[in-house]
């Protein structure tokens, strides 16, 4: 069986400027932050980020890596709106394709199923269709005389054709994984991580701990192994790799750290200090600085 173990640096080494990158997790929950930090340190630019947005989006915007974001929101959960995102938007620094959360889900699903779009009511009548003028409607081919029309109101009905959100690369973080690329999520919600992987050409999992093949059932139920190895090309062990987002049961959100991150958006000096300690450093240095911070 192929050993898919790799490193964060090798993952980032595969990426190119201008790529479309999907990032798993949701808001400030189980985000692959170690890879996001490595992206922030890299020379990459003009990325399109596709995410249920959290501090991954905020940090990448603050470090000037982003051309465009595809999202329905960018939140820190305990702080409603990521202030770095607010700044990037209000200064007009990034383009946005803002869609309904469910449309976003269907876009990933369409890409994973290799169909060009999926129909949905979500978006009809809203400004999602006016702020994204490339979005199209689709009319049901099943008319009133069709044997397949369950309710007459659905005959010839016009719906939104949510386009496939095709990803060049997907990045997700799990609690456990094995070297073959099976990933286990021990927290309460897998979010859409398997779909991000399914929608991408190159698929990378970072994880708190890589365990011996066949032993994920020692860590938690088999039903929590929601990422199977058909979905992955590489797996990198990154303890604390989701910090400062929530990654239960391994650790919760680092709320004091998140507050410091959020506050740095409104003060250039605070951002410089934050970046010096937590962005322009290696992952080992980052972890050391976080440990020092928690101890003080």
């Amino acid at each position: 069986m192929t050993d898919k173990r790799t490193t964060v640096d090798d993952i980032v080494g595969e990426l190119r400027s201008g790529m479309t990158i999907g990032i798993g997790g949701w808001g400030s929950r189980r985000k692959p932050m170690a890879v996001v930090r490595a992206l922030c340190r890299s020379d990459l630019h003009d990325l399109t980020i596709v995410a249920y947005g959290g501090p991954d989006v905020g940090l990448l915007c603050a470090t000037g890596k982003v051309k465009k974001v595809v999202c329905g929101f960018v939140t820190l959960d305990s702080i409603a709106l990521d202030p770095h995102w607010r700044v990037a938007r209000q200064k007009g620094q990034v383009e946005v394709m803002e869609v309904d959360e469910g449309m976003f889900f269907q876009g990933l699903q369409a890409a994973a199923w290799r169909v060009p779009f999926l129909p949905t009511r979500a978006g009809l009548g809203s400004d999602v269709l006016t702020i994204n003028p490339d979005l199209r409607l689709v009319r049901s081919p099943y008319g009133a005389d069709s044997p397949f029309v369950h309710d007459p109101a659905d005959a010839d009905v016009e719906l939104v054709a949510m386009p496939a959100l095709h990803l060049d690369v997907a990045l997700v973080h799990t609690n456990r994984a094995d070297s073959a690329g099976n990933g286990q999520i021990l927290g309460p919600d897998a979010f859409f991580d398997p779909l991000f992987l399914g929608a991408a050409d190159r698929r990378f999992v970072t994880t708190e701990r890589i365990v011996a093949d066949g032993t994920l059932t020692d860590e938690g139920p088999l039903s929590a192994v929601v990422i199977h190895r058909l979905l992955t090309d590489g797996v990198a062990e990154t303890p604390g790799g989701a910090h400062f987002t929530a990654n239960p049961p391994d650790y919760g959100r680092d709320e004091p750290f998140q507050k410091e991150y959020a506050a740095s958006a409104s003060d250039p000096a605070a951002w410089e200090a934050f970046a010096r300690s937590y962005v322009e450093v290696s992952e080992d240095e980052y972890r050391a600085h976080v440990a020092e911070r928690s101890a003080s």
């Binding site: 938007r89 959360e101 009809l124």
Partner: protein
């Protein structure tokens, strides 16, 4: 807006009237998922589930359905969960229609459009808000209500800047796909209760909270409201409801942080 007059003789606070108005939004709703945003809608949902709507389904705010209607300040570790409800499953519920959400609105307008996306030009907003989130899909798939804790001419506007939740005129223009399951049940604010039960589905004042006048509401509304000849007061809580709210569901008075008395 002028502050509400002192009314020391009222049997309940303004926040408590708001809780009752929210709770009544889910009266006779049956077995559906209620998704309340904000402290006062959350208390309303718990009050309704504890009393007249026992079959309501509430989530723990994370990824599970929560048993019963525990106090608002209950720590996550102390909640009892009855089923898993990860986000992917939430969309199954949204699109099945077995849900009634009460979202907040940074702006709401005369035909019921809601904005939580941005103030100003969407390409470079004057103020970036949370984002459309699930509002477009929610509003055309299942009953939707709104909670506005600070009704002013800046929140109740003639026309919202970015239509997130879809109002009646927009839904009708979009056709049967949008109107089939579209229903804005109520708008509850700190001043009163509103609905769209008018011939042209524009917003109507349904009741004013005790201590609020119709003129207070008009002054805090940036468009022409439909106002019936007789505007009732939002009903008072029963003694049992008030006791439940004050001693069980919210003994720490978190409700007063959202709406001052």
């Amino acid at each position: 807006m002028t502050p509400a007059p002192e009314t020391p003789d009222l049997p309940c606070t303004r926040a408590e009237s708001c809780v009752i108005a929210c709770a009544d939004t889910w009266r006779d709703a049956g077995e559906i998922m209620v998704s309340p945003f904000g402290t006062i809608p959350s208390l309303g949902a718990r009050l309704a589930k504890s009393t007249f709507s026992p079959d309501l389904v509430l989530t723990d705010g994370e990824a599970a359905l929560m048993l019963g209607a525990p106090p608002i300040a209950t720590r996550p570790a102390e909640l009892v969960r009855e089923a898993a409800m990860p986000y992917r499953t939430v969309f199954d519920v949204v699109w099945s229609g077995r849900r009634h959400i009460m979202m907040m609105a940074s702006q709401i307008d005369r035909t019921g459009n809601q904005n939580i996306s941005a103030i100003g030009d969407h390409r470079q907003p004057k103020v970036q808000l949370i984002g459309v989130r699930g509002a477009p899909g929610n509003s055309v798939n299942h009953p939707t209500s709104y909670w506005v804790p600070d009704q002013t001419v800046r929140t109740f506007v003639e026309q919202v800047d970015v239509v997130s939740g879809v109002g009646y005129a927009r839904a009708e223009a979009a056709g049967a796909g949008a109107t089939r399951f579209h229903h804005i049940r109520r708008v509850v604010s700190n001043l009163g209760v509103f609905d769209f039960e008018t011939p042209d589905h524009t917003m109507r004042l349904r009741s004013v909270h005790p201590g609020v006048t119709v003129e207070d509401v008009v002054q805090a509304t940036g468009f022409a409201l439909s106002i019936p000849d007789q505007v009732p007061e939002t009903r008072l809580p029963t003694p049992e409801e008030l006791d439940l709210l004050r001693t069980v569901l919210d003994p720490g008075s978190l409700r007063d942080r959202e709406v001052k008395s």
